[in-house]
Amino acid sequence: MRTDPDASKTTQDAVKEVHALFLIHIDVIRGFIRALVRDHHLADDVLQETFLTVARNAEKFTLGTNFPRWACSVARLKVLEVRRKNAGKLSFFSEETIEALVESEPVEEMDCRLELMEQCIEELPPSMRKMIDLRYLVERKAPEIARQIGWSIEAVYVGLSRARAALRGCIQEKLRNLEGKA
């Protein structure tokens, strides 16, 4: 049962609220699913199923509690479902590992703020920036990037890895500064 003290809220209001919340948190929810389901089409299907289930159960959500965590708990069931259906065809972690991963506060750990990411990407040296552009903006796979820029595939992986490490360092520093200011 819905535990929201505001008893005047209707079912439609609840649906509207979870829709709004889903849009706000869609990146985290998608990231959670994609981390466990590497096939992007399948992951998108899981995202859709999660959305539909969340919408159907909108009234069960207590406003003010952690929405992404609730949505990810719904997504977890969907992930396990597609894992069972596709285990023979695609690679997944074992069910035990998935359960252990879900238990370890994914939503909190995944908190990577887009605006900080944008700033840090802007600050990357040009060679790293190009790697990130080709991989994430133009969505090229490493072998295609290698072909385009004339590097070996291994060198592209190393380059991407360094660029991500630089971004991670930059974001952490910005977070520390923000905390310092707050």
Partner: protein, 553 residues
């Protein structure tokens, strides 16, 4: 961890880069199962991956791009429909009810499609018969239906009578005078300082450079002394002449009558007897209407075009579609918007500068200098192809004016370009030849673009069918030439160039008389705001449809 084990960072990279084998996955699985810290780092890495993916989506404007196009082919997954809805909700800042889920942006696009009714096939542009000198250019038009098809940006010659059934048109004379006309109307620009209005309403805005500008009416003449004034003519009679700003002189056709000076706020009419009679001043603001309607029309057309683009991008035969969306303006790469084509993914913009395209807010690339170009890598062989570009043609100053040319020297090399006299100069390298000087199979047209129409946006298209050995050229969706070439050669593009040509051996051409520098310098002069390469022959109906959706006016 034993010696064979990869470090955790490597395992995570392999996993998130989708390159790990079963063994790596197994190793990561066990590692994650056994360590809390490892699981924490796994999620941190997942968070970073998603933030990067979200950044990429934002950069590609994927939220808006995923709105469903009308009549697009059925998708295998239901999710894109939801994405369309999500995108629409984000765009509109609205949160829709669950029950709205099945009527997403689709219906909005249909509304957009209906908003602009299809216009009839274009009439031929005015030809240079009895050509006077160019005296004005067509700076704006809105909802225009006229005797000919007129193009925004084109020049108008002295003595050419414009017959407008309905709509609005703005002419800027080369003296600086700006005349807005509301149809139905008939008018003749006589010189850069004179226009005859036989019927209709007109507003003239005359700057200092055009003081003395004359407007000839059926029963009188207005001479302007630096001002804004309006006239209304119907049935050979001047029903209204009024001054919005400044001062004019109105003379009756009847020379026995006195000419009259009129000042701001004064309005007159010509009586049956040729007398100038005062009447009440009535605001005439259709120049503002023109601006408003033109803006609205442009917006509607651009929306309709964007919806249609999403349909094109679902076409499996689209090899490359560079639609140059607003979010790409200023970038040094342009994205291939085709949903299925894996290659090319991008075009590299070299030297070409961003400018305004067919509609306000639609970006285009400007080509003017020898270096201006877009480099595109198109692998593969194409027994059939259709080249299509929306281009503003500002002139053909070069011997060869390049639209899209293959990598030089490869088998199946294709040259899609125009001659200096406005002919399609399409050429294909004969099989078995690789030298720089091979004589290409030619599919040339007669001149199809006249200099009177320089400055206008046109849809240029050519289809190529190796089996039939047939090349068909189109302008604005209408066929203009058809050629059977000597040999069946599948096309190849390789490291191709849009809006130019790369000549790797200029020294070879330098020694040939007649084709020196002009062989190497083939930049387009004008702008290109859309380019599509199909791997099939589009028929004339399809090309007419693409033209209809993408046209400027």
């Amino acid at each position: 961890m034993n010696d064979q084990d990869k470090p955790e960072a490597q395992l995570l990279d392999d996993y998130f880069d989708d390159r790990g084998d079963a063994e790596s996955l197994e190793q990561l699985d066990q590692h994650l199962a056994s360590s809390d810290d490892a699981r924490r780092r796994f999620w941190q890495r997942a968070g970073m991956e998603e933030a990067l993916a979200a950044w990429g989506r934002k950069g590609r404007d994927e939220a808006t791009a995923m709105v469903e196009a009308p009549d697009s082919p059925a998708r295998t997954s239901r999710w894109p429909v939801l994405s369309g809805w999500v995108a629409a909700a984000i765009m509109l800042g609205l949160v829709l009810f669950y029950s709205d889920l099945n009527v997403p942006a689709d219906s909005q696009d249909k509304a957009v499609m209906n908003e602009v009714a299809p216009t009839p096939r274009p009439a031929l542009p005015p030809q240079e018969v009895d050509a006077g000198n160019p005296v004005a250019y067509l700076s704006e038009l809105a909802g225009l239906r006229a005797d000919f098809r007129y193009f925004k940006g084109q020049t108008i010659r002295a003595g050419h009578e414009l017959i407008i059934d309905e709509g609005l048109m703005e002419l800027v004379f080369f003296s600086g005078a700006r005349v807005t006309i509301e149809g139905p109307a008939r008018l003749v620009p006589n010189s850069d300082f004179k226009i005859t209005v036989l019927q209709g309403s007109a507003l003239a805005d005359v700057p200092e450079s055009a003081i003395g500008f004359k407007m000839v009416l059926p029963d009188g003449v207005v001479t302007d002394y630096g001002t804004t004034f309006g006239v209304k003519v119907a049935g050979e009679k001047t029903l209204r002449v009024q001054v919005i700003e400044g001062e004019i002189e109105l003379a009756s056709q009847d020379v026995s009558k006195m000419a009259r000076r009129l000042f701001k706020g004064q309005a007159v009419m010509m009586s049956e007897s040729g007398d100038i009679e005062s009447i009440d001043y009535v605001p005439m603001e259709f120049n503002e209407t023109l601006e408003r309607v033109a803006t609205l029309e442009s917006k509607t057309r651009m929306k309709r075009w964007r919806a249609y683009c999403r349909q094109i991008d679902q076409d499996l035969s689209v090899v490359a579609h560079f639609s140059m969306l607003p979010e790409e303006a200023g970038s040094d790469v342009i994205l291939n918007q085709s949903k299925f084509s894996k290659s090319p993914r991008i075009g590299a913009v070299i030297s070409a500068e961003w400018t305004e395209g067919r509609w306000p807010g639609k970006p285009a690339l400007s080509f003017r200098r020898p270096a201006d170009r877009v480099r595109v890598d198109v692998p593969g062989e194409f027994p059939q192809a259709t080249f299509l570009a929306w281009a503003r043609i500002d002139g053909f100053p070069r011997h060869y004016n390049g639209l899209f040319l293959s990598e030089s020297g490869i088998e199946g090399e294709a040259h899609w370009q125009f001659s200096s006299s406005g002919q399609y100069y399409f050429g294909v390298r004969p099989s078995g030849s690789s030298g720089a000087m091979a004589r290409f199979h030619r599919a040339w047209s007669e001149p199809v673009i006249s200099s009177w129409l320089f400055g206008s946006w046109r849809m240029l298209a050519t289809t190529y069918d190796a089996d039939r050995r047939e090349v068909i050229h189109y302008v604005d969706g209408a066929e203009v030439a058809r050629t059977v070439i000597e040999e069946s050669v599948p096309l190849r593009f390789g490291r191709a160039t849009l809006g130019n040509f790369f000549d790797p051996k200029p020294e070879v051409h330098g020694v040939q008389s007649g084709i020196g520098e002009e062989w190497s310098f083939r930049n387009w002069t004008g702008a290109i705001d859309e380019f599509i390469l199909f791997s099939r022959v589009l028929n004339s109906d399809e090309l007419a449809e693409i033209h209809e959706v993408g046209r400027v006016d």
